[in-house]
Symmetry: C2
Subunit: 399 residues, 2 copies
Amino acid sequence: MSRYPGFAFDILHRDPASQARLGRLTTPHGAIETPNFIFCGTKATVKGVTPDQLRAEQTDIILSNTYHLMIQPGAEVVAAMGGLHKFMGWDGPMLTDSGGYQIFAMGHGSVADEVKGRRTTTREKTLLKITEEGAKFRSYMGGEHLFLTPEKSIDIQRKLGADLIVQLDECTPFHVDRNYTARSMRMSHRWGDRSLAEFERGGGLSANGLPQAMYGIVQGGVYPDLRKESAEYTKDRPFFATAVGGSLGAHKEQMVEVVAMAMAHVHAERPVHLLGIGGIVDIFAGVRLGIDTFDCVSPTRIARHGWALVPGVKGERLNLRNGRFKSDPEPIDASCGCYACRKFSRAYLHHLLKAEELLAMQLVSLHNIHTMNRLMRDVREGLRTGTLDAVEQRWVWRE
Amino acid sequence: MSRYPGFAFDILHRDPASQARLGRLTTPHGAIETPNFIFCGTKATVKGVTPDQLRAEQTDIILSNTYHLMIQPGAEVVAAMGGLHKFMGWDGPMLTDSGGYQIFAMGHGSVADEVKGRRTTTREKTLLKITEEGAKFRSYMGGEHLFLTPEKSIDIQRKLGADLIVQLDECTPFHVDRNYTARSMRMSHRWGDRSLAEFERGGGLSANGLPQAMYGIVQGGVYPDLRKESAEYTKDRPFFATAVGGSLGAHKEQMVEVVAMAMAHVHAERPVHLLGIGGIVDIFAGVRLGIDTFDCVSPTRIARHGWALVPGVKGERLNLRNGRFKSDPEPIDASCGCYACRKFSRAYLHHLLKAEELLAMQLVSLHNIHTMNRLMRDVREGLRTGTLDAVEQRWVWRE
C-alpha cells in the first residue's frame, strides 16, 4: 500500500472459529495490536485524565473530533501549535473523525443517540441544511453558521494532523426510511470520492508534513442490499481502511446482523473500525465478525457518573454511588491493576462521588480506561491462544 | 514536649532582620521544613488531583475539614476505613481543623469570606444557634440538624486521625463589634480548655492509636488588647502549637497589624499557623512576623477558574481564559517545572478552559500547587542564606 507510506495493516493470525483476526496497525506514531479500543478525546483531551495517565493505564490509541475542534479552538490554532499530537501531548497513534457524525446526530435535535435507536429527549437543532455540496450547521458555542464539505473536512483533518482520518459522510439516523437511507448513502459515496480527491490534492500529508491515511465509511442503514452496495463502494476505492457507521439497528441483535451485512463485503485485507460501539458484549460480537477497532465515549462518560466497568458483572458495571459501598474497604475490582484499584477503596470513591468531587471522575475514568485496555489485551490473548470463548465467559455475565 | 510524643518543632535558624524563622515540624507521618504551605483537601481530596500528583509537585503537608467530613462521609466511616491518611491515600503530615470556621463562616449566610471583610452575596443560613455548650447548624447536604461541641470536635478529629488537630473556637466575622468579639473570644478560650480536656481523656491518641497534637487558636478580632489576651491564653495552656484565626481586618495592611498584635504574645517556641491566608505578598509579610505555616483554598480554587500563579506578575497570576493566550505556544511559566509547564502550552490550557474541560482544572491546579511549594522553598532558602528581600523581589510585583 505505497499510497499510504508509513502505514501498514498486517493480519497476524485468523481465528478458525470466526471471522476474528489478530493484527498490527502501523502508523507514523507507532503501531498498535488489534483488536483494540480507541478512546474518545473529543475536544483534544480524554476527559479528566492526562496523556501520561492514559499511557500508565496502557492506552494505545485515541481519537479526537473534528466537529468540536473546528469550533473550538479551530483547526488553524491547532496547526499553528504544531498539530494535535503536540497540542494535546499525545505521541501515539491518533484518529480524527470527519465531523459528520456530530453534525447530523447532534444536529437532528433529537438524536445524539438515535443512530442507535435510543434517546427521545429533544435538544436545540443545530443542523440547518444538507445539500449535495455539504452541511450547514450552527456552532454550539457562538451560534454562528458553519458549512462543512468533504473538502473542508479533509482540510481540517490535515491541519489537525492525526494519523488516521475519515471521509465525510451523512450519518443517517434510525428513524429515516429506506429511500432516504439509499439517497443519503449514495451522496456519502460521492462525498467519499470528493474526500479522496481532496486527500490526493494535499499529497496525503498533514500540515506538519507527516503522512495520513483515510477511512471510507460503510453506510446503508439496516438494509442488506444497501450495506452490500456501500461496503463494495469502499472496497473499490483506494481507502486505507474501512469504518462501519450509520444506524446499526434498534437493539444488540440487530447491530450484529447489520455489521455482518457490511463485513461480508468489505475489503478483507484492510483494517475495519466499528464506529461508536464499546459495550463489552458488543466488542466480543464485533471481534467475531472481524472488527479490528472500536470507539465509544461510554467508558469515560459512565465513569463521570460513578459507573465502574467490572469483568463478569451483570450490566458490565457497578454503580459506585450505591449506598452499599459506603463502608466497603475493597477496591473496585481486586483483579484490576489500575491506579484507582491499587490505591483506593470503594468507600473512598463512593464518598468522592457523593461529595461531587472532581477526583471521583478522574479515578473512575482511569479504572474504566484500564479495564477497556485489559479487555482488549485479553481478547487478543484469546485469539492468539484459541481461547476467546473462555475469555468471553470471564468478561460477560450470563444468567 | 513529652506531652506530644512523636512531635517536635525545632527552630533551625532565626532571621536577624525580622521575626522570621526556619524550622522543622516533626509528626508521626514525617517532618516538614517551615515556613510551609498547607494545601486544603477539604473533603478528603485536594480538588481534582491525586495524592501522587501532590507528591510529584513537591507537596509536604495537607489539611482536611472536620465540618465537611462529619457531614459526608461521617467520621465513623473514615475511622472504619483506617483513618484519613489511609482513606485518601496521603501518607504525609496532615492537619484537620475543628469545624468551627465553616460552621460560623458558612453559617452566617453572608460571610464565607466576611472574616476577611469580603463578599457581600448571601447564602442560605445554616448556623442555627450558638450557646456555651456548642453550635447547632444544619447539614448542607441532608438538611438535618447537627450539634458541634468542643468534645465532639476533638472526638471527630480523633476518628479522622490527622497528625495535627485544632481546638474548637467561634470564628468571629468582621462586622461584629468589640463586645461580641470579647465575649466570643472568652467562650472560645473555655472551648479551648474543654478541647484540651477531651484530648487528655483520649490519651492524645487517634482512633488508630497514633499520637496527635493540638493547636490552640488566637481570636480577638482587630483589637490589640483582645489579641494579647487570647495569645496569652494559648501560651499558658499545654497546646502543641498556635493558630491565628478570626477576623484579620478589612485589608492587607490591617491583616499585618492584627497578626503582629497576636505574634507579640504567642508562645515563642511553638509553631504558629496563620489560618486561611495564602496570597504571595501576604506570605512574605506573615513569614517576617514569625508565621511558620499557612493555608488557603485560593491556589486550587483560582486554578479551577483558569488563574495561574506566576512569580513577579501583577496580581500574582495570569488569567488563562484571556484571548491573548489563544495561540501562545509558551508554557504558563517557562521557569516552572510542574507537569503542566513541562508538557503543555498556554494555548492548550486556554482551549481546555474555553471548552470547559475537566483537565484544565487538574493542570492549572498542579501548576499552582507546584508554584506555592516552590515559593515556600524559595522563602526557606532566602531565610537560610539571608536573601529573603531578593526572593521577595522576584516573587512580588511592585510598581
